[in-house]
Amino acid sequence: MTFLRTLDRFFYRIEFALLVLFLSAMVLLSFTQVFLRNFLGTGLVWADTIIRHLVIWAGFAGAALATTEERHISIDALTKFLSPRIKHVAQLFTGLFATITCVYLGDAAWTYLKDELTSGGVLVLGIQTWQALLIIPVGYFLIAFHFLVKLVENLLGVLGRQTVKRV
């Protein structure tokens, strides 16, 4: 468990750093582009494509962090009124479901990536399309991992409390 938690923190830090990097690049690049277009009547031909992909990369980094910080959007109309104990048990099921779904989504993204790999298109600046898409499977697998760590923590929590009660 300590190993899982350390790995979880490790990924969290990397995601955080990448998020800051991608968003900073997005802000600077998109402003530069507007500036060039409006004042100098020119522009960087590759910039728009890069900016659009930065949105996906930063978005997945944000989504991975949102998993750890429990900030994914869900319907909370019912959970607000549940007792903490029932909530914990419910979280076991929802957590398991989320983990499995993300693995499947990651797998689907992997299939898509392999298709791109064989068709072998180039995006801009010598970046291959599959390289730009790499974040989608990786992102889903990272999200799945964060959900898994939460699930294990929850499971230990629920079991732990029961043993305490029996003693």
């Binding site: 402003f31 996906i56 980094a61 962090l65 549940l82 989320a98 689907a108």
Partner: protein, 426 residues
């Protein structure tokens, strides 16, 4: 039988708080798999919407909004508004409405307004002898007021999902947005007179001082609206300029935020929301494609047509339906999931997509406040440590006013469409 069981299972999981993107993604993948199509088409759709040029506006505007919320811009804005409106009866309440509305346009009605501005305004309201229940209701209502003003995140998202022009929708929201603020301000002034709350005298020196302090933030709305409708730049470019401008102003000019200590955290907070939205939109676009292929919207239309013949009756049912949706779901998922289903039906009833957008968002704005589960009620209850019931009682008169405004917006399409036509926005 199996499908029914899976359906029930997914609904239960959703109700017990499973992330919505996982629910939607699972439905999409299973639907495609049942048709013998590889689930990777879900990813194709995610990539398509994810690399849509318009989507860039979302992280940039959201980031700008979060920077503003974390800086001292709220204080400067409130002082400025007090200098202008403080002297009329109920002036401070009007200040709250106007500043929150302007602010929400930037923060996108994500609950940030109540925390950032409400936390500032609520103690002042109480100190100036506004009753507790009145003030609670006011702040709770103001928290989502202004989501009809550009460049609010729900407007951008709606335009993206409905595939209509952002510029059009931005223009369409302005008059209905002003209508909401004016009606609520009227009520605030009426209450201010009745309660005889103290007023701050109007002085020009006060106006000038507060304007000088807020000089860097005042041009923002002009920059965005003027920039877009003056034909200087697109909504996405406006987002790029706003994000950069706000960052420079708050970090280097006002020095409210430190580039290395604060900005990374603000970036993370804003992208948590954007990431969560991207996950839902990515999963939902696949599902939408499947539903459209199966002609589900047309089947829904045939079904509704047997019960509802006139557009007016359709709009009444739509309003009720949307308020329930707004109560259950947050505004972002509601837009992403419900719009693709409703839009073809509404178009078949001859309702203009832009007008539908404004109706949709006004409904969801009310949904934020609707007991028992409206989101703002809970944010206020936590932020001000008052029981939800107290917040609900304080909010009821405001809901009544918003419903009146909703009826006007729904049945007078020109409130939304007039400016779009007058500006000749394409």
């Amino acid at each position: 039988m199996e499908t029914v069981l899976i359906g029930i299972g997914l609904v239960l999981l959703a109700l017990f708080g499973a992330p919505l993107f996982a629910i939607i993604g699972a439905i999409a993948m299973m639907s495609f798999a049942a048709e013998g199509i590889d689930p990777s088409v879900v990813i194709v759709e995610l990539y398509r919407i994810g690399s849509n040029p318009t989507l860039v506006a979302i992280p940039l505007f959201t980031f700008a909004g979060y920077v503003l919320a974390e800086s001292k811009a709220p204080t400067r804005l409130v002082n400025l508004a007090r200098a202008f409106f403080g002297s009329i009866p109920g002036g401070l309440a009007v200040v709250a409405l106007v500043t929150c509305a302007l602010f929400t346009a930037f923060t996108g009605a994500s609950g940030v307004t109540i925390v950032a501005l409400g936390g500032l305004l609520y103690p002042i309201l109480l100190k100036e002898q506004y009753p507790e229940r009145f003030s609670l209701g006011l702040i709770t209502t103001s928290g989502s007021l202004g989501l009809l003003f550009p460049p609010s995140l729900p407007l951008i998202l709606y335009a993206l999902v409905a595939k209509i022009s952002i510029d059009k929708l931005f223009a369409a929201g302005i008059i209905p947005g002003i209508l909401l603020v004016v009606l609520l301000a009227g009520y605030a002034i009426f209450q201010g007179k009745k309660l005889r709350v103290p007023k701050t005298p109007f002085t020009w020196s006060n106006v000038f001082t507060t304007m000088r302090v807020a000089a860097w933030e005042i041009p923002l709305p002009v920059l965005i609206i003027g920039g877009i409708y003056g034909g200087f730049f697109t909504a996405t470019e406006a987002a790029a300029v706003t994000a950069f401008y706000v960052l420079v102003v708050e970090v280097f000019i006002h020095k409210d935020l430190n580039l290395f200590k604060d900005i990374p955290r603000v970036m993370k907070d804003s992208m948590l929301l954007v990431g969560a939205i991207l996950m839902i939109i990515g999963a939902a676009m696949g599902l939408t494609n499947y539903l459209v292929d199966e002609e589900v919207p047309m089947k829904l239309f045939e079904l509704t047509r047997t019960f509802i013949s006139s557009p007016i009756a359709f709009l009444i049912v739509l309003n009720i339906f949307l308020i329930i949706v707004g109560m259950m779901m947050d505004i972002f998922s509601a837009i992403i999931v419900v719009v693709p289903l409703i839009l073809p039906i509404a178009t078949a009833y001859n309702i203009e997509p832009v007008h539908l957008g404004i109706i949709f968002l006004t409904n969801l704005e009310i949904g934020y406040l609707t007991p028992p589960v409206g989101l703002n009620l809970f944010i206020s209850s936590i932020r001000f440590q008052k029981p939800v019931f107290t917040v609900v009682r304080g909010t009821l008169p405001y809901i009544a006013i918003l419903v009146v405004a909703l009826i006007m917006i729904t049945y007078v399409p020109n409130l939304s469409l007039w400016l779009v036509n007058a500006l000749n926005v394409r």
